[in-house]
């Protein structure tokens, strides 16, 4: 894409052109030519939305909860962006993005933008592109961004580093899982949601969770995670409950961040993370570009395979040649 087209694209996006928003996201997601330029131009317009992360195991009812939260935020007059992340198949690279099905009610609402993306094999759940996508939707201009990711283990829930408020969703019957990761949950969850709270075992589970929170060694003045019950999978409207309290808690947590000045700390953390990720990928990109066509990559790998060299020494050598050397030159 030509640079002036990129300018045009970003201008339209900032003007609220929804189709351009969608196309810009694709360009960045695929690392197409011009994506750095897009991000440079978009960046000054970011930082205004409240970001809510929702994570939890498959079948926990995250999408249905997201659907209800969207409706509630809309009722409050807020515009909402939603990023739904589903895992890519490690074997084929394909992905089934089926969460949108649960959000049909908002299909015609111009105040809601929903985008399904595949994790594309990134360890740790969210790829750098995901952060970029969140930034782009922020720049497009929504009040709230909900990011839904599949979290099955501690290393897959790094949305916590990016969101203002992080919801971890459980259901009764996940008792064993939670036992294994109790400590981890308290570190990442601002709100612990006990979904399907009408099922057997929910009360006991909630009691255990609350006990864990009380017993945890939370420093004074820090946020104490809340445990909230929720029912959002009943067909009967009257049975669906708990989401107003979740919204209240989200705002309460947001207010706490303001008051305790943790918001600045979060911003700092987030930038640290982004900077690291961008540096990582750009550096790798740069180096592999340099190696391209030299046959060196193959030579290095064969040397390691043959036992004549080791990965650490190889990386050092590459850095010396392509980074440190360049700097000298």
């Amino acid at each position: 894409m030509m640079e002036n087209n990129i300018d045009e694209m970003v201008r339209k996006l900032l003007d609220g052109d929804r189709r351009m928003l969608a196309r810009t996201i694709t360009l960045v997601e695929n690392g197409r030519k011009g994506h750095r330029n897009v991000m440079r131009q978009v960046y000054p317009h970011t930082g205004k939305a409240m970001i809510v992360g929702i994570t939890g195991a498959g079948g926990a009812g995250k999408s249905t909860l997201t659907d209800i939260l969207i409706a509630k935020f809309r009722k409050m007059g807020k515009t909402v962006g939603v990023v739904l992340v589903d895992p890519s198949s490690p074997f084929t690279g394909g992905a089934m993005l089926g969460d949108r099905i649960r959000m049909k009610k908002h299909a015609q609402d111009k105040g809601v933008y929903i985008r399904s993306i595949a994790s594309r094999g990134t360890m740790g759940g969210l790829s750098r592109a995901t952060y970029d996508i969140i930034r782009i939707i922020e720049a497009f201009g929504v009040d709230i961004i909900i990011v839904e990711t599949l979290g099955t283990g501690q290393d897959e829930i790094d949305i916590v580093h990016f969101a203002h408020t992080c919801l971890v969703v459980f259901t009764p019957g996940m008792g064993d899982d939670i036992q294994a990761m109790k400590a981890g949950i308290l570190e990442i969850a601002d709100l612990i949601i006990m979904n399907k709270a009408d099922l057997e075992g929910a009360e006991t589970f909630i009691r255990h969770l609350k006990g864990a929170v009380t017993a945890a060694d939370i420093p004074e003045g820090a946020w104490v995670p809340k445990v909230l019950p929720s029912i959002c999978v009943s067909d009967k409207p009257a049975n669906i409950k708990g989401q107003d309290e979740i919204i209240e808690a989200i705002y309460e947590h947001f207010a706490f961040l303001h008051k305790s000045k943790s918001l600045d700390a979060i911003k700092f953390q987030r930038l640290e993370l982004e900077l690291g990720l961008i540096l990582n990928s750009e550096l790798q990109n740069l180096i592999f570009k340099g190696l391209k066509g030299t046959g060196l990559k193959k030579k290095y790998i064969n040397a390691i395979l043959g036992g004549e060299n080791d990965p650490y020494s190889v990386v050092r050598e590459i850095l010396d040649t392509y980074v440190l050397h360049r700097k000298d030159a």
Binding site: T92, R100, Y113
Partner: protein, 133 residues
């Protein structure tokens, strides 16, 4: 960071047609072929489907018909796609479609019709070769 562009497909049922088994199988087979597939399920209105294609910036829209509504809904979808300038989206149709309807659908703007009994090798290859973006 150039990475491989993945083909993004939206698969959907239209209107009240409740036969979704075939559509779901197609979703799974496209996923296995390395594509990223957004499945919209049943009970979708024309405008909702096209809005999803816009928001997801899909390369392909696949409509599944098993109850004989293809000649009713397809022109409405094509019109809505035009309104949204989606001329670079590959529109395909699958399901129980009489051969007599194939030229009619093609005239409306459908690029290819896959009847029941089509194998995934056929439609995967077709999509890979014909996406317009």
């Amino acid at each position: 960071m150039e990475n491989d562009k993945k083909i993004k497909v939206v698969i959907t049922k239209v209107g009240l047609d409740g036969h979704d088994r075939g559509a779901k199988i197609v979703v799974s087979l496209l996923k296995e072929a390395g594509m990223e597939v957004v499945y919209l399920g049943m009970f979708n209105q024309v405008e909702d489907i096209v809005q999803a294609v816009v928001d997801e910036d899909a390369d392909v829209l696949g409509l599944s018909y098993l109850s004989g509504e293809q000649l009713i809904f397809t022109p409405k979808i094509v019109e809505e796609m035009k309104k949204n300038e989606l001329d670079d989206v590959l529109l395909i149709v699958g399901g129980t479609i009489p051969v007599e309807d194939i030229p009619l659908l093609e005239e409306m703007g459908v690029e290819r019709v896959f009847r029941a009994g089509s194998l995934s090798s056929e439609f995967v290859e077709y999509i890979e070769k014909n996406i317009k973006k």
